[in-house]
């Protein structure tokens, strides 16, 4: 009973499945015969549940005539839909009619037609079909459709896009996953150990810097009396500065180690050739301005 109640509650609030209804345009706009593919939307799972038609028949009141509207059975012989209006011994007029019936799958609806048997002519014919379809008839069409996950899983399996080496139904599946996660967890731990040492060194420096920092004592520095008091304190703690005061630097003479030996320095021949070229160039340039030549 709890399961039934759960199912009822669950089914009372379906996920995003929507029934779309509509009506086709005039099937007889071009001719008195039509194909359903030309007027129905190309939706999967579409069904037809109503027919509206209107026509004007012109005839002699004293003659017999019948007007038939029908759709062939696309899956076999005969007709899935056929209705006849008897106009025998009646004057012509305009007729409007609406037929409502159970859902007929669109795949079963063959070619449609409307025609007169007997004496009479049709004009101003208007034929429309009422249809409906479920947007989630194919679960893969939308992630919000019920059954989408199962359908997606099946599609991935069918197309070989899933690794089947590990079976999720395997009782050891959870352990396998955990082993993979544990490997990654160990790698992170090693990196953390390398990072630890530099942090410790930084803490030593921070302690010396903290002692010398004046951030917390800015106001003290600004006031002369407090400055003097700070200097007195500094003088009273010679231990840190003794390192600098008592530092000895080894002195002595640093003899030259690099000696340049005297010798003849030849002229650079390439320089001479460059100079020659430079002279020639200058002569050529000047010749432009020598108007007498």
């Amino acid at each position: 009973m709890a399961a039934g109640l759960f199912f009822y509650c669950f089914s009372a609030y379906p996920l995003a499945s929507e029934i779309i209804t509509g009506r086709t345009s005039n099937a007889a706009a071009e001719a008195l015969q039509w194909t359903m593919e030309s007027i129905l939307p190309p939706q999967a799972g579409l069904s037809i549940n109503g027919l509206i038609y209107q026509y004007t028949i012109t005839k002699d009141p004293d003659t017999d005539a019948w007007v038939t509207i029908q759709n062939e059975n696309a899956n076999g012989d005969g007709y899935v839909l056929s209705y006849t209006d008897d106009w025998s011994q009646l004057p012509g007029n305009t007729l409007s009619r609406f037929l409502s019936f159970g859902d007929i799958p669109s795949a079963s609806m063959g070619d449609g037609s409307i025609f007169v048997t007997g004496d009479g002519t049709l004009s101003d014919v208007n034929v429309g079909y009422n249809f409906k379809f479920d947007t989630c008839i194919v679960p893969l069409s939308d992630p919000s459709c019920p059954g989408f996950k199962d359908a997606l899983y099946k599609w991935l399996l069918d197309n070989g896009l899933l690794d089947n080496s590990v079976d999720i139904n395997d009782p050891y599946y959870d352990q396998y996953v955990q082993e993979i996660l544990n490997r990654k967890a160990n790698a992170f731990d090693d990196e953390d150990e390398e990072l630890i040492e530099p942090k410790e060194e930084r803490e030593d420096k921070d302690s010396l810097e903290a002692k010398l920092s004046v951030n917390d004592r800015k106001m003290n520095i600004a006031e002369a009396a407090k400055q003097n008091a700070m200097l007195e304190v500094l003088r009273a703690t010679p231990t840190e500065f003794n390192v600098y005061l008592n530092a000895s630097i080894q002195g002595g003479v640093y003899e030259e180690t690099v000696v340049l030996e005297d010798s003849t320095l030849p002229d650079n021949a390439s320089v001479m050739s460059n100079l020659t070229q430079s002279t020639l160039h200058q002569t050529m340039v000047r010749s432009q301005y020598d108007l007498n030549q």
Binding site: I52, Y79, L81, F98, L99, S100, F101
Partner: protein, 124 residues
């Protein structure tokens, strides 16, 4: 061949305005007042252009018969349905043949040729 349910509807027409009244045959019965008979009629207004309906009672020659109702001119909003009690004298029971409702227009609202509708139920 499938069975069809034929529904007569104004499938190819635009919005239509309707006046409805029921039942088709009314029956006068005793009321709480001596020598006064009562019947009730239901009026449904589907005319956006009409808000008032006048109740009438006629004999077979279409002559008016005196009657009493909660109000002789019923105010009905669009898509409103109302049941009205109609009282006649016992003496007029055999004379009364039709109980009718007639749509009435407010003079200022009449701007173009319109259709006045009357529906009559027959007394059993």
């Amino acid at each position: 061949m499938k069975k069809f349910l034929v529904i007569a509807l104004a499938a190819f027409c635009g919005p239509a305005m309707a006046h409805e009244m029921s039942p088709t045959y009314v029956e006068f019965g005793p009321s709480y007042v001596d020598n006064v008979l009562k019947t009730d009629i239901e009026i449904f207004n589907r005319r956006e252009d009409v808000n008032y309906y006048q109740i009438e009672v006629y004999d077979k020659d279409w002559k008016s018969i005196s009657f009493v109702a909660d109000t002789k001119i019923v105010n009905l909003k669009y898509l409103e349905k109302k049941t009205v009690d109609v009282y006649i004298k016992s003496n007029d029971k055999d004379r009364a043949v039709y109980v009718c409702t007639l749509s009435r227009f407010i003079k200022e609202d009449v701007t173009k040729t319109n259709v006045s509708s009357r529906i009559c139920s027959k007394v059993k």
